[in-house]
């Protein structure tokens, strides 16, 4: 879709927040970008990778976020402005390097963009990554819309160089994934030259700047950098106040909540009574500015996602105000006025402000409201399901059957990817543990070493090809080395599908479309000492039999690579169906079969529907992708597949 309009400098374009960040980085003259796919950050690198060649920059999908940050830091050390972007969990992975980096300082400007996911819309957990800045003493910026995302990113590079430290831009799903008007700046045209200056000088040997170590004064130096940051923030263009000089209610807000607060105040017609103090630089907070603002109102409402981060900082500040200052009343997460978890929906914000200002807010006509509530009951919910034709469905079906046949209460330790849906109905509830990336096999390691406690349940771990390369290899090494017993299923669909089909080290293609060495996962696992087999999940019989055999054999670390391409990738490339599938209405006898609708009720491919009127199963030809797997599911042979004539 959109590019970041490289030829449109000076114009206004509709950009995603993430695209705007990419644009801002380009306007700052970066030369190096590294990232790992993760919602809601992926589009930053998707965008940079798409123009990397043309702009003469290096953009890569690193194997994980720690390496991404390390690589970006390396470029920074050698005098190239660099950006590393990742979702919230990525900063957890990169954290050890990050804290060491704060000790050493950087070369040229280095920015880390972390995209949080309030409400965990596309994540396994909800977290507020801003806390890491307080923990690690890192200057923090929060954009509130696409325009600001661009401007802030550009500004952040200057700040980073001025302070000689990495700075963090914390975005959220509603900023990164919202398109807005962005006025584009100029793209610098300059040659960049990389050189790492800290080489050994044999005549005057010195410790390198870039070595963290047992040097406690580095921490002190860092605090001085933070003090300087705070000074800069006092006059940063991203903090503003809008409202009366003396406000009945002062709202302090940041990030995506800003627009919601502005709209709420307008909607409630409280512009003359309620003031909005918006912060864009949120760690360290500009104390003078905040103190000044606190004197304009006695009642303060904090509206932010997810934790009471600014709330706590301001309260700490307020604790040190002169004892004769007016007593402030704070409303926010600590007082229970703002929900302490989840995304802040505009409805919530409007209602809270209305409540605090003693106004009743009616969103719409009461009769309509009542009617709407009634009618909403008849609409069926939409549980998440795997795509029609997805090989994971076949894998889950085979695993489910194999575990039942084995009969020893076996189970699956799951991981993060499209197959995460295996924890719900679409994957037959097979995933019984699921945490972080690579944790499936990690947890399996422990479970596979409990035989001395009478443990006999077969342990299966599941991971995708991309996640395997990203985070699971050390755990496989551990399993072989520490003699754990489990079967690791690597679901190799040759894609990083969940986040948008970014390439990975197993696909043989870089982010910028350059062919490269592709890792042979089979050979890799063998070289680590695991027993390795390969199955096609669509061959249900063979897959089930293989799993049963491996479960029945003696223990050890076993790997089965479930190899079949992601249906979306195949469909895009081949642009046709492998089969035309239909249900023979003469053979399908619906409920009378006694099969209790195996195809639609148990198997649950969205391409199969139960026609309530005809009382038979049928294929939804707008949804079916012609994989033909359901043919093997029908015990009556009512589903027929025919090869598509080319």
């Amino acid at each position: 879709m959109a590019s970041i309009e490289l030829d449109a400098s000076g114009t206004t374009q509709l950009l995603l927040g993430n695209e705007a960040i990419a644009r801002g980085a380009l306007e700052a003259g970066i030369g190096f970008a590294a990232s790992y796919p993760g919602t809601p950050a992926s589009e930053i690198m998707d965008t940079l990778a798409s123009i990397a060649k043309r702009m003469g920059i290096h953009a890569e999908w690193s194997v994980n976020e720690k390496v991404a940050l390390e690589a970006a830091a390396g470029a920074s050390f050698a005098g190239i402005r660099a950006i590393a972007s990742m979702k919230q969990n990525g900063i957890n992975v990169a954290s050890d390097f990050l804290i060491n980096l704060t000790m050493t300082g950087i070369g040229k400007g280095l920015i880390l963009v972390v995209a949080d996911d309030p409400g965990a819309i596309s994540s396994s957990n909800e977290q507020d990554s801003r806390n890491i800045c307080k923990w690690m003493d890192i200057p923090l910026l929060e954009p509130s819309n696409a325009q600001e995302a661009k401007d802030m990113t550009k500004w952040a590079f200057e700040l980073s160089e001025e302070l000689d430290t990495i700075c963090i831009i914390r975005s959220v799903n509603r900023v990164g994934h919202t398109r807005g008007n962005v006025k584009l700046g100029e793209l610098p045209k300059r040659e960049q030259r990389a050189y790492f200056p800290n080489i050994w000088n044999m005549f005057e040997p010195k410790l390198s700047k870039f070595a963290a170590g047992p040097f406690p004064w580095l921490h002190n130096m860092l605090h001085q950098k933070l003090a300087k940051a705070q000074q800069r923030f006092e006059s940063a263009p991203f903090n503003w106040y809008m409202g009366p000089d003396k406000a009945e209610l002062l709202i302090i807000t940041s990030g995506a909540s800003t627009a919601c607060c502005t709209e709420a105040v307008k909607e409630l017609k409280l512009d003359h009574k309620v003031g909005i103090f918006k912060l864009g630089t949120t760690w360290p907070i500009p104390e003078n500015l905040v103190r000044k603002q606190l004197s304009s109102s006695q009642r303060v409402l904090f509206v932010e996602e997810v934790d009471p981060f600014i709330e706590r900082s301001v309260m700490e500040l307020a604790a040190n105000l002169p004892t004769d200052s007016t007593r402030l009343i704070f409303y926010g997460k600590r007082s229970g006025h703002i929900p302490s978890s989840g995304e802040l929906h505009p409805d919530v914000i409007i209602n809270i402000i209305a409540g605090l200002m003693g106004i009743t807010y009616q969103a719409r006509d009461i009769t309509y409201e009542k009617k709407a509530k009634e009618l909403s009951m008849i609409i069926p919910g939409r549980a998440l399901n795997l795509c029609p034709g997805c090989p994971h469905r076949a894998t889950f079906w085979a695993v489910k059957n194999a575990l039942q046949l084995d009969g020893r209460d076996g189970f699956v330790c799951g991981d993060i990817g499209c197959y995460s849906l295996g924890f719900a109905a679409g994957g037959y509830y097979q995933l019984r543990t699921m945490h972080a990336m690579g944790s499936g096999i990690g947890v399996a390691n422990g479970l596979g070493n409990l035989s001395k406690f009478g443990f006999e349940q077969p342990v299966i771990a599941m991971v995708g090809d991309s996640t395997f390369l990203h985070a699971a290899i050390p755990a496989l090494i551990n399993g072989v080395y520490n003699k754990s017993s489990f079967i690791l299923l690597i679901l190799d669909n040759n894609a990083t599908a969940m986040t948008g089909f970014q390439p990975h080290p197993g696909t043989g293609m870089t982010a910028t479309g350059v062919p490269t060495f592709h890792i042979d996962i089979e050979a890799l696992c063998r070289s680590l000492g695991a027993h390795v087999e390969v199955c096609d999940p669509f061959d249900l019989k063979n897959t089930t039999t293989t799993l049963l055999r491996l479960m029945a054999e003696e223990g050890g670390a076993k790997v089965v690579i479930m190899r079949r391409e992601c249906e979306m990738v195949r469909a895009k490339r081949e642009k046709r169906f492998p089969y035309v599938v239909h249900v023979d209405p003469d053979i399908c006898i619906g409920e009378a079969c006694g099969c209790n609708r195996v195809c639609t009720r148990a198997f649950q491919c969205p391409g199969l529907i139960y026609d309530q009127e005809a009382r038979k199963a049928t294929i939804d030809e707008a949804v079916c992708t012609g994989c033909g797997l359901c043919v093997d599911i029908c015990p009556h042979g009512a589903i027929i597949k025919k090869v598509v004539e080319t």
Binding site: Q404, L405, G594, C595, V598, R601, A602, P635
Partner: protein
């Protein structure tokens, strides 16, 4: 009987240790499979009245109802059940006798039925080369012959019932254990609507059975003691031998019967039926007379087949010595008594007989401490 679903089948029968691995439930449903001596449910089925529950020989089974359906009379208190004729027999075909366990009567009768067109195919238990029994659909004499020989293990033979298309006109013969005969009788009483056509079943030959071995554990034990690929035949010689004989190419190995008893399925101790009382013809060994079968003819179908066998000289017929008959009755009666004792011990109430529906008076008489025989 209140027909329930698969969840109750598991609660009341399979997880309660009552499953005989007959295979009836697996035949009637695509979610149930018989696998390595266990019945496995692959997925939840939310049908509240299931065929799996209905035809299981270990859900409520009223013996009078079954007997009325098969014989037109109430359940017989006689040790051997309802019988029209008792005799001994052996095949006139030496080829069959070579392969057979005793007299080869089952193989002969089933093959004859096929030849005469009484049946178009037969379901029997067949042992693989490494002696794992499984259901087999035979369509010719050779196939039936391949199934000759006792395996002493529980085999889910009935799960082949759905291998004939439901609307097929093919007639089916079945060689079945007493529990399987019971299941078939339940099906005949209220025929299944889905997956199986019990109307196809035209001939049921039942086998005498004292107990069956649990396939999975017994197999593992055997593999540790013998090379299964070399085994030709299993046999339990009559008391007082107390042995389990394994015949292989290199000779015979005798294992202590007491060791083998450890692999008896626990559910067998709740079974009353030693002679397959509801079959058309029931066949077993003759104690003390090697190479012959005891044959109990129970129904008109059985009579008809036997007549043909005599007419075509397929069988050599003889009289069962009265001593043997008495002994047989005693053994059968003893099995009923023991079973009832175990059942009432488990339930603590002689009015609660687990799966059995049986006349109270018969129960009382059987539960009397000393047998008056």
């Amino acid at each position: 009987m209140e027909v329930k679903g698969c969840r109750e089948l598991f609660e009341e029968v399979i997880n309660a240790g009552l499953c005989t691995y007959c295979g009836a439930c697996a035949s009637g449903c695509p979610y149930l499979v018989s696998y390595k001596g266990r019945i496995v449910l692959l997925d939840n089925c939310d049908i509240s009245k299931g065929q799996c529950y209905q035809y299981c020989p270990r859900t409520h089974t009223d013996l009078d109802t079954i007997s009325q359906q098969v014989f037109g009379a109430d359940y017989s208190e006689d040790g051997l059940g309802t019988v029209k004729e008792v005799l001994i027999a052996r095949s006139t075909d030496l080829h069959i006798r070579e392969r057979a366990q005793y007299g080869g009567v089952v193989t002969t009768l089933m093959s004859l039925a096929l030849e005469e067109g009484f049946i178009d195919s037969a379901i029997l238990a067949k042992m693989s080369s490494d002696k794992i029994p499984s259901a087999f659909l035979a369509r010719n004499k050779e196939g039936i012959l391949q199934c000759a020989g006792s395996n002493y293990m529980a085999c889910s033979t009935l799960d082949a019932l759905n291998r004939i298309a439901k609307d097929s006109k093919d007639k089916l013969g079945i060689v079945a254990m007493p529990c399987q005969v019971l299941s078939i009788s339940k099906m005949k009483e209220d025929p299944p609507l889905n997956r199986m056509n019990i109307g196809n079943v035209s001939l049921v030959i039942g086998l005498f059975c004292t107990w069956a071995l649990c396939r999975d554990t017994f197999q593992r034990f055997l593999r540790e003691n013998v090379d299964l690929m070399q085994v030709i035949k299993f046999d339990i010689p009559p008391p007082p031998a107390n042995k389990f004989d394994v015949y292989s190419n290199s000779g015979k190995i005798s294992l202590p019967l007491d060791t083998i008893r450890e692999f008896i399925m626990p559910t067998c101790s709740y079974c009353l039926d030693m002679t397959a009382e509801f079959a058309d013809i029931s066949v077993g060994s003759v104690e003390g007379i090697e190479g012959w079968n005891t044959v109990l003819i129970r129904t008109d179908v059985g009579v008809g087949l036997m007549e043909r066998a005599k007419a075509k000289k397929k069988l050599e017929i003889g009289q069962l010595p009265s001593q043997n008959l008495a002994h047989l009755k005693e053994a059968a009666l003893l099995k009923k008594k023991r079973a009832l004792k175990e059942i009432t011990k488990k339930t603590g109430d002689k009015k609660k007989l687990l799966y059995l529906g049986m006349s109270e008076s018969i129960v009382d008489r059987l539960l009397v401490e000393r047998s008056k025989v």
